[in-house]
Subunit: 672 residues, 2 copies
């Protein structure tokens, strides 16, 4: 076995850190160490002094369980990651958690990985972002946006369906700056993969129009270099380098087996490996010579300095563009944006229209698109249904100066690519599908929330109100699913005014994602005064009230608000003091002051009824055990929206009936 | 344009039904009509008199938006589906909902389709089931299980990631009885697919080891026949027939465009199409001659009769096997099963062991496997972590007499295949992954619930208790997400006894799915009397009580139950009357009588605290607005389970603190 000292530093750090933590995945870091060494030392233009330098190459460890590989590299090349951090691998509050975590303590992690296949998808999002930005900002002799995206993937990533979605799309989109290294080691957790993963990966990726470099010995630096060079020379296609590696390379007794996949080597095998690798130092000791060779600070700083000079000259020559880029990099909203959108909101309020909120969203995009060139849209083959485009939408699929991506029927891939575009920076992506199909992409939505990405997921066809397509297409659980994801804000506006406010809130949310949920069908625009318009932004507000202490409070959202308000009028007529709360975003409402919340929904009022065509359970949070929830308890059915709303109890009569029942139950009310 | 009258009957019914409904997707039924005609008239061994005849070929319309194609065929071949049903297309309570619905009013629908790609996956499940059953039951000269699975797919299905997962696996598993027809029409909702779906499908499926028959003119019956014949001759590989079709074939002005994908043709174009097709009858009139040629009742009955004779002789010769098959087809549990498992439960109760519930589940499988040969297991490459195998597990991947499927890292594909195995009948499938990765498969879990399939999803590593792998692997929202899916029962047992009961309940649930959620880490076995053991089956029961009216009620599940019980003891010691409810399944508890529920959790007791390491919001349903929820409000972190439980408040001290706070708040209690 021929091994190189520089790569062995990775192996030694990895197996010792894992042994110390008594958990982790040594096989992959040992197998990919040689490739990592060549790539990081020869090619990646990173700067450990400033890990967030914008034109850096992006590196993604899609097989994130091998996190210690990345930590070892960051340590060795000179990032702010000490040997103590390596020793704290997988410990609470360390810089080195079990999987690489973006937006945590350590800069230099481009995305959180672990859920397989998604890192690859994020990387394709990076490449799309790079491509769009280069068209938006580069000028002759000023390639200020010009970097590659390198991705490590394992068998698992390639088995996952999302790898198919995004790689097929990447080939079609001709994203030649993507270079993927496939760790072809034949081993997964259940054993030798050939019994469940026997596809011809080269042929598969060629079918996607990729440049495939096969049979690269992942333990031979010359072959690795040659492959990377070839990838760099490719001007059209993304590149897949299929690296034949031995899992746990260096471990004399366990390499090449699934034993080494997900468990520490054991003290004896760590020692045997040390001897095998001819490594004559203590557990966490790296010789100075090795550190020196790995150190990338000087080289990296030089690259960044060159870029800074380029940018300085660019600033002089293309001042407006420079300022625009700067604004984006600083995650700033254009001046006057909020003033202008507020005007738009007021204007819309006084020009009522009973349109679907998906249409209201498209109208809003028409406003936003012109002000926010950072907006990058897209849909999973439902553009005419989602109404996710606007007059300035230009297809990226035709020309990478575009701002709109036709993702095809690939909800999960779309969402994880959207995450990638957001992660890259300087763009604000949104993407759209039907609400029910959020389930196809669920974990990507979770990852956006975990990473606190600034982006927007649009979901239309938000309830049984979509009608004839039936239960497979009618979301019942989705609103609840979305609302309980930490860090996510979900909005379900009731009319065009609430729609614009939801968008405004989403755009202003600089450090976490937003989900916007819209109707297929038309909704009635509600009447509001200035204060009410302002309070939409708080997620929940009083839209109708009595002038006394209410006997009963209705809470409603979206398309069900209007029947709630009609019921309110009927109750008021017969002398029942009623209040209606419009609650477009429970998440945003929850974050308001206790004072505000108690003003809107006073603790002492127990007569509460929620009305929403979505699963009932969620609403106990607002109406309590003794409240009444008019919601869904079963799946929907195929039929007209009108008949479905009637069948499932979303009618004025049913709300009236439930209100009366509640009043009779909770105190004998002589008004009833 | 050459068209055939028999296929045109499909086209005419389709466009008129869609026009009448004023919604639907005419393009696909028109494009696939010729292929459907050849397949259904010449090949499928169905019997309209008895659509559920067990050895029928299975037909799946994976592109379910073309449902009217299937309804037209079922009508024409003689199923119990009248022309009035066709006229009621997409209406409430009709036999012809917007998408084909299994387990609804119409027999002959093998699976519910609409969410793209999943029908294809179900079909692969059918083929696996057929293969396993043929090994279990066939004898020389008695091929009593011997049928094919035919699947129609569109571009959308092939773009979806799940198609990659399951087709790669199907090729590896050599499922040659699958014949997939790909409707290669170049059009999806956003327009011409080439801009987002430009892969070489033939090459891709060859990379999966499929038999691919390309360039079949989907409007030429001879070519279609030839292709099907070739597919039948294939003895190893699954077959993909790539049919070049014209979407909306027959519509003179709209065929070949995305206009015809998702909207009615319009009255004028329907009329133009009628003329173009030379169809001289009124809207829903089919000439008798055409009906006669389509009628499959006689032919189908003959095929079934032959099979019935075969079965009759088989019964004589292989009586035991026959009885076993009969039991399975009747969805019966073996006699004595419940008596034996009850004994196993009692025996386990009196032999306490503090093991992880995933391990307890494996021990239970050891018991179940021997009694239930219909159990077909599997894992998405996490067998040694999920502990989803048992000593009798034999890999189907090696030999299709096996009962355990190594699915590879393919959660969504696995789950939809599991649905397919359940749909096929005579097998009881279960499949396993980590709880957090249920999100990768979310919509398949929903589909299982919508279809009310008898199957079991196992999810291990159920909380922050999995420790070091960190937030990407720690489910927070999943329990809530699973619990709110209509028809699904979710269990989270606290120890090995509750684990066996959960399994018992799942096995006895003949008409809907169950989810079993298990810990990675060891849990303490609880003490129970006979009555308590019996009440586990009710989903929630009193595990600790005071002999007075309780001051406070704790509700807890799974790994958090033990600290709750220790806290209970402390409170009892200081004179606080406390009750502890173990609630392994909220869904099952919800279905108990009001009397039982009120006995366990009396309405009048408002001092309630829930303790579960899962998202808080769900628990308002049980503790109310003024209750206390000790749950998760954020994502988890990477670290040891012990430290994480402490950090997030799952400690005896914190429960004590919250209990005291509640008692002080709700009434000045001089005990505190």
């Amino acid at each position: 076995m021929k091994t190189r000292k520089l790569a062995n530093a990775i192996r030694i750090l990895s197996i010792n850190a894992i042994q110390k933590a008594n958990s982790g995945h040594p096989g992959m870091p040992m197998g990919m160490a040689d490739i990592a060494e060549v790539l990081w030392r020869k090619y990646i233009n990173h700067n450990p002094n400033n890990p967030l330098w914008f034109n850096r190459d992006r590196f993604i460890l899609s097989n994130g369980h091998g996190s210690i590989l990345l930590y070892s590299i960051l340590h060795l090349t000179g990032y702010n990651l000490t040997i103590e951090d390596i020793k704290n691998f997988r410990q609470l509050n360390s810089k080195t958690p079990g999987h690489p975590e973006y937006n945590n303590l350590l800069n230099g992690i481009e995305t959180t990985t672990g859920p397989l296949g998604q890192g690859l998808a994020n990387g394709i999002g990076f490449a799309i972002a790079e491509s769009i930005l280069s068209k938006q900002f580069n000028k002759p002799n000023y390639n200020i946006i010009d970097h590659k995206t390198y991705i490590f993937v394992g068998d698992g990533c390639l088995m996952e369906g999302i790898s198919h979605e995004v790689c097929s799309l990447a080939g079609t989109l001709k994203l030649n700056k993507i270079i993927v290294f496939y760790d072809d080691n034949n081993i997964s957790i259940d054993g030798n993969v050939k019994k469940w993963f026997n596809e011809d990966v080269e042929k598969r990726f060629k079918s996607y129009n990729w440049n495939v470099i096969n049979n690269v010995n992942g333990h031979n630096n010359k072959e690795i270099k040659k492959a990377i060079q070839k990838a760099h020379n490719e001007k059209i296609k993304p590149t897949l380098i299929i690296c034949k590696t031995i899992i746990g390379y260096g471990s004399p007794n366990k390499s090449g087996t699934s034993d080494v996949h997900g468990a520490p080597l054991g003290i004896n095998e760590v020692e045997a490996t040390r001897i095998k690798l001819n490594w004559n130092y203590s557990k966490f000791e790296i010789p100075k010579k090795v550190y020196l060779k790995w150190d990338a600070k000087k080289k990296g700083q030089k690259k960044e300095d060159e870029w800074n000079i380029l940018i300085k000259n660019y600033k002089k020559k293309y001042t407006q563009l420079y300022l625009e880029l700067k604004r984006r990099l600083n995650n700033e909203i254009p001046k006057l944006f909020n003033i202008k959108i507020d005007k738009f909101i007021y204007k819309t309020q006084i020009k009522p229209e009973n349109i679907a909120t998906r249409k209201a969203s498209q109208n809003t995009l028409e406003f936003l698109g012109k002000m926010l060139p950072e907006l990058i849209g897209g849909s999973a083959d439902l553009t005419p249904s989602n109404l996710s485009n606007w007059s300035g939408s230009k297809s990226f699929n035709n020309d990478n100066s575009g701002n709109y991506i036709h993702y095809g029927v690939r909800e999960f891939g779309m969402s994880a690519i959207t995450n990638g575009i957001a992660l890259h920076g300087a763009l604000l992506p949104y993407s759209a599908t039907f609400l029910v199909f959020f389930e196809y992409a669920h974990n990507a939505i979770r990852m956006a929330s975990l990473m606190k990405l600034r982006l927007i997921f649009i979901y239309t066809h938000d309830s049984i109100g979509l009608g004839e397509d039936g239960p497979t297409h009618q979301p019942i659980e989705a609103l609840s699913n979305l609302r309980i994801i930490p860090n996510m804000n979900t909005w379900r506006p009731c009319d065009q005014v609430e729609t614009i406010v939801a968008w405004k809130h989403a755009i202003n949310r600089l450090n976490s994602p937003t989900t916007l949920v819209f109707t297929r069908q038309n909704v009635v625009q509600q009447i509001r005064d200035l204060k009410q318009i302002k309070n939409i932004y708080k997620g929940g507000y009083i839209i109708k009230d009595c002038n006394k202490f209410p006997d009963i409070i209705f809470i409603s959202t979206g398309s069900e608000l209007n029947i709630t308000i009609i019921t309110f009028r009927k109750l008021i007529k017969i002398g029942i003091y009623t209040r209606v709360i419009s609650m477009p975003s429970t998440n945003v409402f929850d974050k308001q002051s206790e004072k505000y919340k108690n003003k809107i929904l006073p603790n002492i009022i127990k007569n509460r009824i929620s009305i929403e065509a979505s699963i009932s359970d969620y609403w106990y949070k607002y109406v309590g055990i003794n409240g009444t929830i008019i919601g869904m308890k079963t799946f929907g059915e195929s039929g007209s929206a009108e008949k479905l709303f009637k069948k499932f109890g979303f009618t004025i009569n049913n709300i009236l009936k439930e209100a009366k029942k509640m009043l009779i139950r909770n105190y004998s009310n002589n008004k009833i």
